[in-house]
Symmetry: C2
Subunit: 311 residues, 2 copies
């Protein structure tokens, strides 16, 4: 799959998974629910204030089909908790944030008793379709980790690799990005990149090929990598771009979307089910892609026999 | 001026300044010298190994016009020293790196006794012409400072502002970039951005308008800034993008050139004369833009009555 549209098509052909939305009383969220349901991308279980949902659907002429079930839970914390619980109990497969702070929903996901905590590190993965690029780029982490440690970077890579596998990239190529290709002890990004490369080589990060440090051009452009004489199985054809911190991640995310006109969908992974945390500024298209990516990722974890996806 | 081509045109209309090249015995450098001279962008004083220069111009059929003078200085360190000295003595106005490590030429520029040291902080300024953008973007610092301190950021802003003024942007709008718009004590980029804004307001960074933290989209896109409800004289129309570290700067530089197809020229400023440090990977066009920017910046410092430009 080398376009986000093809991901959407793929999802349409599969039996629907079910998405639990926490605090669904929001116009944009309900529009996304309507379209995702109508175009056979997913079914939904909405937790939130039922009368407010009703008022919005009436006013906005949103018609929710039989694939949508509503549970009246007016309290925000409780809506988050019940949405997460519904995945625990097998009623739903994916969690989606509605009209509630991202921190609240992630707290419920990470709750040690009732949450969906796995190894403990959640991270954001954005999948980009860039005009002219031959492959999808997975960019991580542009949203959650301010300055991840080496150990966190290992988990962030694993999380992104799970998303990559769901897109049929079986052994994703991971480029830890830095400003240069050489190891410089004064530049922690280059040091971590070198360590991650060796860790992957030693089997400490299974199922991926990691080679860094690489500057962005040499990670994504075969011409640039060749011109610089870099011999690498990752350079010029990276699937996953691991950014060293939130600033570089955010700058890449924004320049690809705003300047380069790329399409994007993003999800939070690392728990036992993907979490959709689209923001108000996201386009409708970006929301659909996020939902599709979450479905693909949940499906793949089903194939890998994790217990939490129920068909 | 809102294109790099218009900067080139502007330079052509002015009397030529003179560029001192350190270690000019390089094919690409000599080609750039030939074209810059032939198209009335600058005159040159070449320091380096004269017989090797001669061999290259013969082999590559490069013909150097009367605007080029050669001084035989085969030792690299000495070529750097003499190139810098020639600006000191008034024989030249700009320093350009030839076939020599960037560190060597910058060391000569920063030499306390014979160099061109001013306030002591040199920084790199890249001027981008991005398809679809209304103005040129000055990006700093994508090349020299790994993790600048607050004090260094102040000097980096002043350096970029000097380049902006040479492009007739009299009061440049500066956006210190972060991942978010709010001040978060856990995110040093947001803290420094807020401090720089207040410092500019208090007159501690004269001649600029600074407002941050701003994420990249809200710095450059009026639509994004409006959508987010950000009230600011900088948001959506920044001239200077101050990146918090070399990784975010480099990622922006590379994504603009490689992905978004932007044109770029860059120079090193902060000494008493601009320094041209184009790299082997730069296109011929990028080298011409760098030369033109250096000329504009040197001209402007002449207008501002600094003593080092001699016409």
């Amino acid at each position: 799959m080398n376009s986000l549209q093809s991901v959407l098509e793929k999802v349409r052909q599969k039996p629907n998974l079910r998405i639990a939305v926490a605090a669904a009383e929001d116009k944009d969220v309900l529009r996304a629910v309507e379209e995702a349901c109508d175009s056979s991308i997913a079914q939904f279980l909405l937790f939130g204030d039922e009368s407010r949902m009703k008022a919005i659907t009436d006013r906005e002429r949103i018609s929710l089909s039989s694939g949508v079930e509503i549970r009246h839970v007016p309290d925000l914390n409780e809506a988050c908790r019940q949405a997460v619980m519904s995945v625990q109990t097998g009623e739903a497969d994916i969690v989606m944030k509605g009209l509630v702070d991202t921190s609240l929903i992630l707290k419920a996901v990470l709750d040690r008793e009732h949450g969906l905590r796995d190894h403990g590190v959640l991270s954001h993965v954005a999948v980009f379709e860039v005009p002219g690029a031959e492959r999808l780029w997975l960019v991580t982490d542009a949203a959650m980790h301010i300055a991840p440690t080496l150990e966190q970077k290992v988990e962030i890579i694993k999380n992104a690799a799970a998303v990559a596998r769901s897109l049929n990239i079986e052994i994703p190529r991971v480029a830890p990005i830095a400003a240069i290709e050489k190891v410089n002890p004064d530049m922690p990004a280059t040091v971590d990149a070198a360590l991650l490369s060796k860790m992957a080589e030693r089997g400490q990060i299974p199922g991926v090929e990691v080679d860094g440090p690489l500057a962005l051009d040499n990670a994504i452009s075969p011409q640039a990598a060749e011109h610089k004489g870099i011999k690498s199985r990752v350079a010029g054809k990276a699937d996953i771009l691991l950014l060293p911190d939130i600033e570089s991640g955010n700058v890449l995310y924004k320049s690809l979307t705003i300047v380069a006109g790329a399409r994007v969908g993003g999800i939070v992974v690392g728990g036992r089910a993907p979490v959709i945390v689209t923001s108000r500024a996201d386009t409708h298209e970006t929301k659909m892609y996020a939902i599709a990516l979450a479905v693909m990722t949940a499906y793949r974890s089903y194939q890998e026999m994790k217990p939490l996806v129920h068909l």
